[in-house]
Symmetry: C2
Subunit: 119 residues, 2 copies
DNA sequence: TATCTATTTAGCTAAATGCATAATTTCGTA
DNA sequence: TACGAAATTATGCATTTAGCTAAATAGATA
């Protein structure tokens, strides 16, 4: 169960349009990252992308996107794993499941035990 | 269904510790607002509170809390209704239901239709 | 009308945020 | 070993945010 600090960090991360759009596209497979043909041994998931590919979808500089990704990673919304030369980014479905569960708890138990959400 | 701008506004509002605590306490009945005995005709819900009562729970000034409440209201997280001299604040359960629904949709349809969340 | 209470607005400061460019690091390959 | 590609770190700047106090507004009551 997510604690308060974690929830605030997640909400803060998603409360910015650029980061929300990254979140959206990472989660909906909105980016495609061409895997380097010279490294066929690197296996990545279907939803995987990398920093520069994401940056191509924005008019912001690479360091700016890199910083936004760092914040999303620190909020545990995405994972970033270095494989060879690139960093591969994937959505963290667990965190979304946790959030869904928190909100469902709050709604379902609103009259009896609203505190559940805020644990 | 919440659109993207609304979601971002909600996340931004909840991504600050003070506002999150106000949200928590408004939703869990953490504040009690003594109803003015001189105005027995004013009927308020069980979870109702008012600006100065909320401010008493923080070390911040009244105007600061007022501004935070404004942001929560603009994000549609709480309602604020003036009755007589005071402003009565209540949780907006609908928005929480909407959020719960969004996250549930994202989790339930993750493999088939993740776009639902981001509509 | 004058006053009291509840709240917001105005105006200010300090800190945080969001962006940029330049320099650095890391890793792969010629 | 040197070079190129991917990403981060360093630094700086402009804007926003979060806080304050003082003043203004709105409503109830003496």
């Amino acid at each position: 169960m997510l604690d308060m600090k974690q929830k605030i960090k997640i909400f803060k991360a998603l409360g910015n349009e650029t980061r929300f759009l990254i979140f959206k596209n990472v989660f909906t497979n909105g980016y495609t990252c061409s895997i380097d043909k010279k490294q066929p041994d690197i296996v990545v998931g279907a939803h995987t992308t990398c920093v520069s590919t994401i940056a191509e979808h924005f008019s912001f500089s690479l360091p700016t996107i890199s910083k936004h990704l760092k914040e999303l990673r620190e909020a545990n919304i995405i994972t970033m794993e270095k494989k060879g030369n690139k960093i591969y980014i994937e959505p963290n479905l667990e965190i979304v499941k946790d959030l869904a569960e928190c909100f469902a708890l709050l709604v379902e138990n609103f009259e009896t035990n609203r505190e559940l959400f805020f644990k």
